[in-house]
């Protein structure tokens, strides 16, 4: 049941590169990553690719397959026809390191800018009590495997490099939502979400949700609720008026 498949793989680095054609054997039940491994073992031993678990759990093997952001280890060959030429490129929103490997440090920098969990003061370890219904919303977001496919797909930075400083991307806006919904977190990150992490840049076009391999409803459950929370704080006319008056009083 094996056949010879046609592949085009991007090879190069940040100075330039091109799509190279390969013919590789494909066997039953295989995924794209198996093909890449076979390519390494037989034709291109120095083909750079990042992977770890090969089970869709670590989020290392993100790439673009026929132009669509996906995990290589979770893209089955059976979803393509035998005659089709399959194009594999690195993620296109980040600086390329080599071949299919990109520099994802943008994401780690953004992660560092989200203020961490702030437990209530005086609550000793072992005394935390939370109800299942209260943790479920945040638990959905904690399924994230940090594959950064959503970050890669989001047009705010994919199509506008200059927005990177102002916009943290769906993954980290979702992290803010996760903490906001954490039943024991005591901090308020609503203003920060808008001012420092660029929640307003998101135009809820849902590409992050479309590509998330964990099936997290990023837009519906994290971004929009976050926008609503910010709206409640900032764009509610009553609150707005209160703020204005309060500020005037102070000055």
């Amino acid at each position: 049941m094996s056949y010879i498949g046609q592949f085009r793989v991007w090879r190069g680095d940040s100075n330039g590169g091109s799509l190279e054609d390969f013919e590789v054997e494909v066997n039953e039940g295989e995924v794209i990553l198996d093909v890449i491994h076979r390519l390494q073992a037989t034709q291109a031993p120095d083909l750079a690719v990042r992977w770890n678990c090969k089970a869709g759990k670590c989020g290392s093997c993100s790439a673009e397959i026929n132009g669509k952001p996906r995990l290589m280890c979770m893209t089955r060959m059976s979803t393509f026809s035998e005659g089709e030429t399959i194009t594999i490129t690195p993620m296109r929103a980040f600086t390329v390191v080599r071949d299919l490997v990109t520099d994802v440090s943008y994401n780690y920098e953004k992660a560092r800018q989200v203020p961490s969990f702030q437990p209530p003061e005086g609550l000793a370890p072992g005394e935390y009590r939370m109800q299942q219904v209260d943790v479920e919303r945040s638990q959905e977001f904690r399924k994230c495997i940090e594959c950064f496919l959503c970050q890669n797909t989001c047009h705010v930075v994919r199509d506008h490099e200059e927005n990177k400083p102002a916009f943290s991307g769906p993954r980290f806006l979702m992290r803010i939502a996760e903490l906001e919904m954490h039943p024991l977190d005591t901090a308020d990150r609503r203003d920060m979400a808008q001012d420092e992490h660029g929640l307003g840049y998101c135009n809820i076009t849902k590409c992050c949700t479309e590509v998330c391999p964990e099936g997290i409803h990023i837009t519906d459950n994290a971004l929009i609720p976050m926008k609503e929370r910010v709206a409640g704080r900032r764009y509610d006319p009553v609150v707005w008026l209160g703020n204005k008056l309060f500020r005037r009083n102070r000055s």
């Binding site: 091109s18 980040f94 390329v96 209260d134 506008h160 490099e161 840049y201 135009n203 479309e210 709206a231």
Partner: protein, 267 residues
């Protein structure tokens, strides 16, 4: 147009000759959206200004496009809240509600997605570059106003109450109680309008989403779970209600204009 050097062609990114390698028909979605929305806008504009064929006096069928009918030009029986707006061809008879309904849909999170993607191509589809050089999203005027969607939701909820009332009092005939196909259409329409309105993200937030501890508010949590179920269908409801609105209006227009007569079951 797409050849900007800030996006996928930015320096240091993987250099590729084409801006997207997608081979599926990604343009289909936006194309259908453009088609669908255009049909509705054209139809709705025409009808809103037509100022005719909106009311079937015998059965008290009032099309949602004219509810509440508050213009001095309205047929008296159709107007439940008084007639006070000047009768002018550029002022729709329902000028009190239509702007809110329009803004409700215009600022709806789903429609925003739909028209940003299809009309504004921002982005046309996932991993397909948008043609604009600069992008600031909803961070500044005018798009920052999208944030007041919640207030249009409140307004829309009020209009839905009025539409419901319209549907209820339409169970009549010159002899008293009546029931015809028009009633079925009005009721279905109003039920779907409610579903759409209730499935709104702002509604989901207000009902319970804003709470930190569901466990302390069991009833609101219960409501939130129901709204969330509907919310997952918000896109479908958005399209279905566009369709039912047009159908309802069209049916009433046909009956009111005497082109067809209502299929009556009682009365």
């Amino acid at each position: 147009m797409t050849a900007n050097d800030t996006g996928v062609n930015a320096p240091l990114r993987a250099r590729l000759p084409v801006s997207t390698l997608r081979v599926d028909r990604w343009w289909m979605g936006p194309a259908l959206t453009v088609a669908g929305l255009t049909v509705f806008v054209v139809y709705a504009t025409f009808r809103a200004f037509q100022q005719a064929h909106y009311f079937v006096e015998d059965y008290h069928y009032l099309t949602p496009f004219y509810s509440p009918c508050v213009s001095e030009g309205c047929v008296e029986a159709s107007s439940l809240f008084g007639r006070f707006l000047p009768d002018h061809p550029l002022i729709p008879y329902a000028a009190l509600s239509l702007p809110f309904l329009l803004l409700f849909r215009l600022t709806c999170y789903y429609y925003r997605k739909a028209y940003y993607r299809s009309f504004w191509l921002s982005p046309p589809a996932c991993a397909v570059p948008e043609p604009h050089r600069k992008y600031t999203g909803e961070t500044r005027f005018p798009l920052i106003l999208q944030n007041i969607h919640r207030y249009f939701f409140y307004a829309a909820a009020i209009v839905s109450v009025i539409n419901t009332y319209d549907a209820i009092i339409a169970f009549q005939s010159p002899e008293g109680f009546g029931f015809g196909l028009g009633n079925v259409i009005l009721v279905v329409n109003v039920a779907l309008l409610w579903s759409y309105t209730i499935s709104c993200h702002s509604c989901r937030h207000v009902i319970g989403g804003r709470l930190k501890h569901f466990s302390k508010h069991p009833i609101r949590y219960w409501m939130w779970t129901k709204v969330s179920l509907l919310n997952a269908r918000h896109m479908q409801l958005a399209w279905i209600t566009l369709g039912t609105l047009m159908l309802t209006d069209f049916y009433i227009a046909l009956v009111a204009g005497g082109v067809i007569s209502d299929l009556r079951f009682i009365g």
